[in-house]
């Protein structure tokens, strides 16, 4: 089963996203939250590295993140991994919360990493108002 890594500048956001995704999947999908830096806002390379290792699975790992340094730090960590590990890990270009919810459900039904990533990225187009008049 594909697992998820949630990265945010805020520990509360990362933990909250995990909490909602865990509820959607009944805890079936391994999800780790990697938020904040030294008690404040920021991105923590060591926490991200440890998070990826904690949920690493040969089925794949999907990283969902907020922005800026979260992206740059995740990419820096991936560069230091072996080629065989790195090819099992993908970063979703997706909204963090919606992407995590949709992709966690997709992961829970046993879909491959490419499909889980695609579903996360489609969350960018998810409409919340039926009329579209926002």
């Amino acid at each position: 089963m594909v697992s998820l890594v949630i990265i945010s500048h805020s520990a509360k956001i990362a933990e909250g996203v995990k909490e909602m995704a865990d509820q959607m999947t009944g805890g079936a999908v391994p999800i780790v939250s990697c938020g904040g830096f030294e008690g404040g806002l920021g991105t923590d390379e060591e926490r991200i590295r440890a998070g990826i290792q904690a949920v690493y699975s040969p089925d794949g790992v999907l990283i969902l993140l907020d922005l800026g340094s979260a992206v740059l730090t995740a990419e820096s960590v991936l560069e230091t991994l072996s080629d065989s590990e790195r090819e099992k890990i993908a970063i979703a270009d997706a909204p963090l919360l919606e992407g995590a919810l949709f992709s966690s459900v997709e992961a829970s039904i046993g879909s491959p990493l490419s499909k889980v990533k695609e579903v996360a990225e489609q969350a960018a187009f998810f409409r919340k108002l039926e009329t579209g008049n926002s």
Binding site: E38, L41, G42, T43, G68, E75, S76
Partner: protein, 210 residues
Amino acid sequence: MVVGSTELLHLLEKIADRIEENKEYLTELDLAIGDADHGLNMDRGFQAVKARFGGWSTQTPSQILKGVGSTLVSTVGGASGPLYGTAFLSMGQAIDGKERIASEDLLPLAEAAIAGIIKRGKASAGDKTMLDTILPVRDALSSLLYGGEADAGAAIAKAAREGMESTKPLLALKGRASFLKERSIGHIDPGAASACLIIEAAVDFLREHA
């Protein structure tokens, strides 16, 4: 100019001190168009670099620069960590195996730093980033090779400062500042400012000691 490991550690100490002295200035710049953490983050990163000097004293300049890179990636906590971190890692790779850094290594070092920053940050000239300070420095180094500049250090420092100043009228296209759109105009980019401080500190050290 010849810089061995001992001189390189002194140079890095000067950079760390310069960042520490300008912590509030960098944070003020970042308060205007970012998230107000650049001074704090850069200072935390370079103080962590200083704290690791003891373990680096027997290493080559290449190993030291790579050590600086990985320290910055793990201790800065903001986008400047991976950006400067990758720049230093790339500079370390550019002088792999050398015991000393000589004048002719400066241009390849600048090229390596730029390639690392572009790989990580995907920015271009004029995006209102640290590159707008560093690209003119690379150009200044490159024209120095063709000759006759009386004071190379002054030319490099001038290029850095003018590069930094050039970000003021620009519209930010990268990072948090880009969220502000037109309101990012009229402010110096914090990353361009920290890059200028680093280069000026390095130039000052090299003029005195190398």
